[in-house]
Symmetry: C2
């Protein structure tokens, strides 16, 4: 007599992006022939760098020869890639051991699964707004009694409100929390915490024996000095933080799928023994996962240095130039905008206090532009939209022109 996991029923309506897709499809049905300008989902659009493609094709050719064929690799990732990532971190002054590096099929999976090694009654802090996966994975894992319609938040989660007043830098929790999710540079606001701000969180976590889940998927978009590329640049972070990251936005690997997670051997929580959290994640990965695609791993390795790194950096620069055009375009229209300097995301205030889904519909109707409603990232986003720099330059230019010419504010 099987029964369903009630925690899944506690999840509110669908995941944000499928909901956007649904609205866009509906709009397209009613507007046949019109092109949609997609600045919504952070989905890369430009050609995969040549050096990465060459590396992957080389791997495929090796798979075509029984002498060089490889089947299952280690669940934690191929040694050369784990060591390549150790080298990569040295650029930020961070020393890791390869046993602390776990290669995965992308940061989303890890962001969703990392909570599994912690107690079910853990109290979760998320920023508001936040990437929905942090929230939904915890709700589906039984850490909330469900959606609180009156507050527009889930019961039992602690929301760290990021607003114009605090420049979208999350405040420290004012109550007990066990896990703290931070994304830096932030998705969706594009804000970046500096060393001093991040240090406060590290000190908080060490004092309270909390664990920080730090998502650095956008760290390659940092253009200004003074911002950490890795949380391990902060002293003491290896005792209290797990870092997730990805090749998706750095190398155009959104569809190829490759990411990684760092679980330091020295990471501790209130009741863990030395090295236990690293071993638990290792056990989780060896049991629930079978390694990232060996083809993707070869491509990811090529992105870490030499020509492949240079080409990946050029890709990042392209999207950052889009971000600049969007920022300036929206500003020229009189909108108040944030982010987009060390981030591919622009966080724009809706005009006249409009609800973000209303403004989403308006932009779609008047300008054929798809953005992401800020409300989908949490209640603090309800008067913001996230505009993504991931599109062809010419589409960004057209979108800005459409907004300039057709948006009524």
């Amino acid at each position: 007599m099987a029964t369903v996991n009630k925690a899944f029923r506690a999840l509110a309506s669908g995941y944000l992006f499928p909901e956007i897709n649904r609205r866009v499809r509906f709009w397209q049905t009613n507007n046949p022939g019109k092109d949609v300008l997609r600045l919504g989902i952070g989905n890369t659009t430009e050609a995969l760098p040549l050096a990465l493609r060459e590396a992957m094709i080389e791997k495929i050719n090796e798979l075509g020869d029984r002498e060089t064929y490889t089947g299952y690799g280690d669940e934690q990732g191929d040694t050369y890639l784990r060591e390549g990532l150790v080298e990569y971190y040295k650029k930020f002054g961070v020393e890791l051991e390869s046993s602390e590096v776990f290669v995965s099929d992308g940061a989303k999976s890890d962001a969703a699964n990392i909570q599994a090694i912690f107690a079910t009654d853990s109290i979760i802090a998320v920023t508001d707004p936040a990437y929905p996966v942090y929230v939904d994975s915890n709700v589906a894992s039984g850490r909330s009694r469900g959606w609180d319609e009156s507050r527009g938040m889930y019961h039992d989660l602690v929301y760290l409100s990021c607003t114009e007043e605090n420049s979208f830098i999350p405040p420290l929790p004012s109550e007990r929390v066990d896990l703290i999710y931070l994304c830096n540079p932030n998705n969706p606001t594009g804000a970046v915490m500096n060393h001093a701000q991040l240090k406060e969180f590290v000190e908080y976590a060490r004092f309270h024996k909390s664990v920080i889940i730090y998502d650095s998927a956008y760290s390659e978009y940092i253009t200004e000095e003074g911002y950490p590329h890795s949380i391990y640049e902060i002293e003491g972070a290896k005792e209290c933080a797990i870092e997730l990251s990805s090749f998706s936005k750095f190398s155009g690997f959104t569809g190829v799928r490759l990411g990684w997670t760092i679980v330091p051997n020295t990471l501790m929580c209130a009741d863990s023994t030395k090295g236990e959290l690293n071993r638990l994640w290792n056990r989780r990965q060896t049991t629930f996962f079978n390694g990232a695609s060996n083809i993707a791993q070869r491509g990811g390795f090529a992105a870490l240095s030499g020509e492949g790194h240079k080409q990946s950096r050029a890709l990042v620069a392209y999207y950052l130039e889009n971000a600049r055009l969007i920022r300036e375009g929206l500003e020229a229209k009189g909108l108040t905008v944030y982010g987009g300097v060390n981030s591919p995301y622009i966080w724009a205030k809706t005009p006249n206090g409009l609800d973000s889904w209303r403004f989403f519909d308006q932009l779609l109707d008047q300008c054929n532009v798809v953005v992401t409603p800020g409300g989908g990232f949490g209640p603090a986003g309800k008067n913001f939209i996230r505009v993504s720099a991931y599109n062809h330059r010419e589409n960004v230019v057209i979108a800005m022109r459409m907004i300039q010419e057709h948006l009524t504010i």
Copy 2:
């Protein structure tokens, strides 16, 4: 004050294959220069079929052109592949809808994660022996109080004992169970349930509102008539069974990573509404997963028909010929063997009632051959070893000669 998930601590010693690797590495250190003949892990060894490689290279080239580049696809898999799998199932007389097909990064992940949509207090039935992932994923998810040393089993799980007496066909549960894991053809025994035997399980599940998790990862190895390739060949199975499968053993995709799971829209459990289990798995996948690699998906599609299918079938035939050589080789040495006809696995009885880890060590020491100790799959395997047909032909031949010449029974 973060604390660890105690359910993970309930897991007994490491996952089977890492433990084997540890022993082999130790042996190699003590036997420098000696070659190990690996017939342990079911890890493919032969060249990836040309048609699949060509398809993947074509996809990589498309990724190199911004006009044909694709980023994130649907978490459930690309439409063309989901539809290709619907076509594939028609060969077995099974009609599916593409909304019932979920493409994944391999059957192991799905086998481990599928339990998440069911209640935490579900009672789990596994065959004994069983693929360890079914067991470990449920223990780690809180469905056992831990390891029972005296019985060599986990508390609270129900073991369906597969022995020589029942020809390794699992008996129906004699007590209430909620989820039943079946692997057919079976890993590790190589036994295959026929339609009538499987029908009993389907009827049991429908009567008790249990759900069958059916792993058909080895269905392409069925060579004899009268065995189901899919559980949906059995009437009523769409109301009570989820099917997992994989390109790993069919097309040499162990390292490339690609699999799929079928959750019928008509699947029900005791408290589900119509279509809810399909929607819950959809929600699980859209939240915790971001789709299989788009490169792998293109390769998998090529394996489903035409030249790619023919080449994949040739690969299966190669491993099955290895299986025949192993079966006959072990029989010639006087061992009692099972499986290896509709399966790449031979389930061989240890001589003189030897413990399977002892026989594992003996085969490694005397013959340089690595097998998998049956005890790693459950207590009913403690006097068996699993011999895998996944190696080059010449190594299989040498392994059989080594066993013939050096094994003392």
